[in-house]
């Protein structure tokens, strides 16, 4: 029997008079990849920040005792002028959590973060590099739950592929539970085993094949968005990667 890792009951989040999340209840089991989808302003990011206890809310959010959270934010509004390298940042977290000395090297090596990249100032890193550093940041401390907030927003397709491959291997190799906010329904279809739809006044939850139906999407987004189901074949001809897409 799979363990229940998170139980959310009657969650309400408001900013002033504006109610962003209304009476939301759902559960997440260990090993799930729950995709959170919905139109802009539906409260996807707000839900993640409430789950992280970063904003006030009403209702109940109960994480199981075994849950150790890692968080990869959508975007960091970090000052590009900060005299802070990726290594400084990771070292600060490792130091704050009093992690063993080898863990930083282990996580960095696992994500292929080179010494050169680690010593580069945060402001000089590309979007994809920053995202990898943020994933490394989230993985420090050995989390068993990762909260991803649109981890590939504004990244090019190749980097996006790489990030999701990483996500997939984390799930597979470490049995990581993932809560993923994404606009990209093809990514959701490929990675998630459960989907939570948020829309103004409406929520639904279930496996992708049950939830991502044209009728449901029409209702969520007002017009049915197109999405693709990707399948991949890797060819060892140079480093080229062939991505086949077929419209669903």
């Amino acid at each position: 029997m799979t363990n229940r890792l998170l139980t959310v009951t009657d969650l309400n989040v408001s900013f002033g008079n504006r109610e962003v999340i209304h009476d939301l209840s759902f559960e997440v089991r260990q090993g799930d990849c729950l995709a959170i989808i919905g139109p802009n302003g539906a409260g996807k990011t707000v839900l993640l920040t409430a789950l992280l206890n970063l904003i006030p809310y009403r209702g109940e959010i109960r994480w199981s005792r075994e849950a150790r959270l890692g968080y990869v934010p959508q975007k960091i509004a970090a000052d590009r002028q900060l005299p802070l390298s990726a290594k400084d940042l990771l070292t600060a977290k490792a130091g704050f959590l009093k992690l063993p000395a080898g863990e930083l090297q282990e996580v960095s090596a696992g994500l292929g973060l080179s010494g050169e990249l680690l010593n580069t100032s945060i402001g000089a890193l590309s979007g994809g590099q920053i995202q990898k550093v943020l994933i490394a940041f989230a993985l420090l401390g050995g989390p068993n739950v990762l909260l991803f907030d649109e981890p590939t927003a504004s990244l090019d397709e190749l980097t996006e592929e790489h990030i999701y491959e990483l996500l997939h291997s984390l799930q597979k190799e470490r049995g990581m539970t993932v809560l993923l906010v994404s606009h990209d329904l093809s990514i959701v279809y490929r990675n998630a085993n459960m989907v939570l739809c948020l829309s103004k006044g409406k929520t639904c939850m279930g496996p992708p094949k049950d939830v991502l139906t044209p009728a449901m999407l029409q209702e969520l987004y007002a017009s049915a968005p197109q999405y693709y189901q990707h399948s991949h074949e890797r060819h060892r001809e140079g480093d080229s990667q062939v991505v086949q897409e077929r419209e669903k």
Binding site: L52, L54, I76, L82, P83, L84, A92, F96
Partner: protein, 257 residues
């Protein structure tokens, strides 16, 4: 008299180390100018203490910490940005300070030389400075995380609100030690300028802190020396501040970015 001057110099040199470190954090938090204004919060207390014939440092400390706490509360309760909260408190503090400070003591209040440094005052100042240095060292990981992203830091378990208050208090404590020889107007000069100087010279964190501390130390040591041998002003504060500005000018020529 010589012994007092020696104690003052030793305290000033230790102060310069703390000021360099605090300045680096304040620069990265983008609150240097806001922090500058914090030093002016001491003015009404100094003025009142002069008027009531009390120890001006005690008066300065009282309004400095009260003002700092008010700034923190204003930020938390109203969501005002740090500089807005400090701006409001500053305007009120300066007005009150100007009104209550006896005119013959105003220059000393603004530019330093607040009474005689007793051995007890020296020890207290030294303890305060060492406390600031130790605190920055112990909090450096939390401060780095919060400077990068408050959300990420909070998700990691860093108590952001408490850390903000703690840093504001460390800033105020540093300013308080500097009040004696820099005065309410210039006390934060050694917090602002050395860190700005160091930032011109490096993009790396450890050298940034090291260079700021060196720039601060050199400004104080050379400032005291120049003042004693050449200018002979009643306080070394202005000489130290000008030297610090000169170092900043040099850093512009040697900047790495």
């Amino acid at each position: 008299m010589m012994k007092e001057q020696a104690l003052l110099l030793v305290l000033a040199l230790f102060f310069s180390l703390a000021a360099g470190l605090v300045g680096c954090i304040a620069l990265m938090k983008r609150m240097l100018l806001a922090g500058d204004v914090i030093s002016h919060l001491a003015l009404p207390g100094i003025g009142l203490a002069f008027a009531l014939k009390l120890n001006p440092m005690m008066g300065g400390a009282a309004t400095l910490f009260l003002g700092t706490f008010l700034v923190w509360q204003l930020q938390r309760k109203t969501g005002l940005a740090t500089e807005a909260a400090i701006g409001v408190i500053f305007a009120a503090a300066l007005a009150i300070g100007a009104a209550v400070t006896p005119s013959e003591d105003l220059a000393e209040s603004l530019f330093g030389q607040l009474g005689i440094l007793s051995p007890a005052g020296f020890l207290l100042g030294l303890a305060a400075v060492l406390f600031v240095i130790l605190s920055i060292f112990l909090l450096k990981n939390q401060l780095s995380l919060a400077i990068f992203s408050t959300d990420l830091a909070a998700a990691t378990g860093v108590p952001i609100a408490r850390l903000d208050l703690y840093f504001l208090l460390l800033f105020s404590l540093t300013v308080l030690v500097g009040l004696r020889f820099m005065g309410a107007l210039l006390a934060s000069a050694l917090i602002i300028m050395p860190s700005a100087t160091a930032r011109q010279l490096t993009n790396k964190m450890s050298p940034f802190f090291l260079l700021a501390v060196v720039a601060s130390f050199v400004s104080v040591a050379a400032g005291f020396l120049l003042n004693a041998l050449v200018f002979k002003f009643s306080t070394a504060g202005p000489t130290i501040a000008v030297l610090s500005a000169v170092l900043f000018s040099f850093s512009l020529l040697a900047r790495t970015r």
